[in-house]
Amino acid sequence: MKTFFIATAAFAAAILAGCANPQRSRDLGNPAIAGPVLAQQACSLCHGVRGVSLSPNFPNLAAQQPAYLVAQLTEFRSHSRQDPAGYEYMWGIARKLTDDQIAGIAAYYAAQPPAHQRVEAGAARIDEGRRLFTQGAPDRGIPACSSCHGDQGQGQATFPRIAGQHGDYITKQLLVFKRTDQRPDGPAMQAVAHQLAPDDIANAAAFLQTL
């Protein structure tokens, strides 16, 4: 009985100690919680503490362009990005974030060292992907990926970093651009994606894993 009461007292003490913990809070409705705290305590559950996610369902965010992250979180918050992965997972998370918190989260992930993927595809597919990335397919009106996303796929401003991204995520997002209007933020990408054949998508996704 004595140990039970000691444990009860310890639990009660823990409760009293836990009323507010802004340094390690997961409160997505409190504007006082700093963006990096939310990145570590909340976003990291899917995207990883260092922005490297294990599951291809969730994109790597390490070394992502901060302007791109700000744009995406803002669009999740306003519901203008409507792809399933967006509304199922991100609308709720982003709904009460302040602009300051969004900027803090973006800066946190932008500062993480970039992710490197395990290369899964064969050499032929990777070579085709490299060609598309560096040269595009001018005969089909497809510009080189590198023209907007940078020569190393590092991104620039609102053009995201795509180097080292999960192949499955790249594939699914290219299909969102190709088949839907669920990401109105990327009209240029929509135009490009309409021209992409299934093999182009697979090749590009394979090559980006090598960067």
């Binding site: 009860t8 997961r26 409705g29 369902n57 509304y87 709904r95």
Partner: protein
């Protein structure tokens, strides 16, 4: 032929009852599908974020972390949810029974089976609550053959949790007070979570999969405990707890239950859990061990004599593999468990009222029962909308003449039942062998037309029941007579 007839019966059931279920479900549901239960309101996310393929209650890796961090992620929201289940259960053979109206209550009839209210969610940055109170319209049977409902405490888990993140390591840790050992566990192979749920109370549901052998801990729910846990580098999970009878400050954990239904534990009853978790790509694998020792009074209304205590020793090995990559959700689950049950001295060495077929005396009742249970389940959900599962169960154990409800009469050598047997029915729940061996399989298909509505059809088949394939009760009832069909609509709001 019987199985063909049953299949035809299943089709008829589907044809007649499915529209009714959908009508009931549509009444229960809000017109706006964005209205969702309390954790969804707190995080703003869809069910599929925390539940694998939207198949509640099974958790995704994210759902596990949400739980381990004490339900504190998100913004405080209305801390209430409700859940309701409508169902039809149909047992293959209802004729081989002394009293079919008692043995198969509400058989082949749609019922409002159960409803729950959940109170919980984020309280502070470190404290979160998950409590469930359940209304069971069929909790007790009255003398006139009617039913009396009951609203009572169900699962409860109140936590303090924190997460420390360093440069190369992290730990999630917490303390929980709860009323059911392993309810705290984030994996669905834990004793409190692996079961197909819920199970309606009327006896027509006594053979559906959720009521077939599961690796439950002997102590069960409605007790009170405190456990501390840590999840280190999202790899090693350790938990240790201690459970006692729910009383005093912890009386709320058995709220609404009659004293006779409350498990009375003697002293401290330790619970230990260790699990290794590994994630790669879309896959996660967990292998774990659970151990609990519990000492339970034989009569919950008389705890005056320590010699009337049953002692149980439960050990289980469980494993779960998940592959979650939209739109696919695969889960494979496996549990092997072992239970040793030491009877109180007063129940040991008792003579059996029966003899064997040659008229020789049977062994005296055993001091200890040993059981082993193997459970395996594979499920798949596509687009968080269409899913199915198959599962196997195989319970084996030692024979004990105390568990016989029928046997050979010493005078006539004809099979007779024991009027003083503890079983609710000496036929349907009876045992000629005194052995618990029960084996079977379940197939389920389900559909999630909305993320908070599941319509499922489940069929459970038995090849062995209470120690025998045929004539397990001694009067001609066979294991396959218990094959059961279960159609349900389950919703939460």
């Amino acid at each position: 032929m019987a199985s063909i007839a049953l299949r035809l019966g299943a089709f008829r059931l589907m044809k007649v009852l499915l529209p009714g279920f959908l009508a009931i479900a549509s009444m229960l549901l809000p017109s706006n599908a964005s209205a969702i239960p309390l954790f969804n309101r707190q995080t703003g996310q869809n069910c599929v974020a925390c539940h694998a393929g939207g198949q509640f209650p099974e958790l995704t890796p994210y759902g596990r972390l949400f739980k381990m961090t004490g339900y504190t992620l998100g913004a405080r929201a209305l801390p209430l949810s409700v859940m309701a289940l409508a169902s039809v259960s149909k047992v293959a053979n209802t004729s081989k029974s002394d009293d079919p109206s008692a043995d198969f209550q509400k058989n082949d009839r749609p019922i409002f089976a159960t409803g729950s209210v959940f109170v919980g969610g984020k309280v502070t940055d470190n404290i979160g609550v998950f409590t469930q109170f359940t209304w069971d319209p069929y909790a007790t049977t009255t003398d006139s053959g009617g039913f009396k409902g009951r609203f009572a405490a169900d699962n409860m888990d109140i936590r303090y949790a924190d997460r420390l993140i360093g440069d190369s390591h992290e730990v999630i840790f917490g303390v929980s007070t709860n009323n059911n050992p392993s309810i705290t566990d984030p994996w669905n192979t834990a004793a409190a979570w692996m079961q197909y749920v819920p199970v309606p109370s009327p006896t027509s549901s006594q053979f559906i999969d959720g009521a077939s052998p599961y690796p439950g801990l002997a102590a069960g729910g409605n007790i009170a405990g405190i456990s501390a846990y840590a999840f280190i580098d999202q790899t090693l999970y350790l938990e240790a707890g201690d459970y006692r009878t729910a009383k005093g400050l912890f009386s709320f954990m058995k709220w609404g239950l009659h004293d006779v239904d409350v498990t009375k534990l003697r002293g401290d009853n330790p619970y230990l859990r260790a699990a290794l978790n590994q994630a790669w790509g879309a896959s996660t694998l967990m292998v774990g061990l659970t151990h609990m020792t519990s000492r339970i009074y034989d009569d919950p209304l008389d705890t005056s004599d320590p010699s009337t205590v049953h002692r149980y020793n439960d050990l289980s090995l469980d494993a779960q593999y998940q592959y979650l990559l939209d739109p696919h959700a695969w889960t494979a689950q496996f549990v092997w468990s072992r239970e040793t049950h030491d009877y109180p001295a007063g129940l040991v060495g008792q003579p059996s009222p029966f003899v064997d077929a040659q008229g020789n005396a049977l062994p005296l009742s055993s001091p200890t029962d040993h059981t082993r249970l193997l459970r395996a389940k594979l499920s798949y959900v596509y687009q968080a909308r269409y899913g199915g599962s198959m599962s196997l169960f195989d319970l084996t154990g030692s024979t004990n003449t105390a568990n016989q409800t029928s046997g050979y009469d010493p005078a006539t050598l004809a099979i007779t039942s024991n009027a003083t047997a503890a079983a609710p029915s000496t036929r349907v729940n009876g045992s000629l062998t005194g052995n618990p061996a029960t084996r079977g399989a379940t197939l389920e298909g389900f559909w999630l037309p909305l993320q908070n509505l599941r319509v499922g059809l489940q069929y459970t088949a038995y090849t062995r029941y209470n120690g025998a394939r045929d004539n397990y009760d001694g009067f001609g009832r066979n294991a396959r007579d218990n094959n059961s069909l279960f159609l349900y609509a389950w919703t939460a709001y």
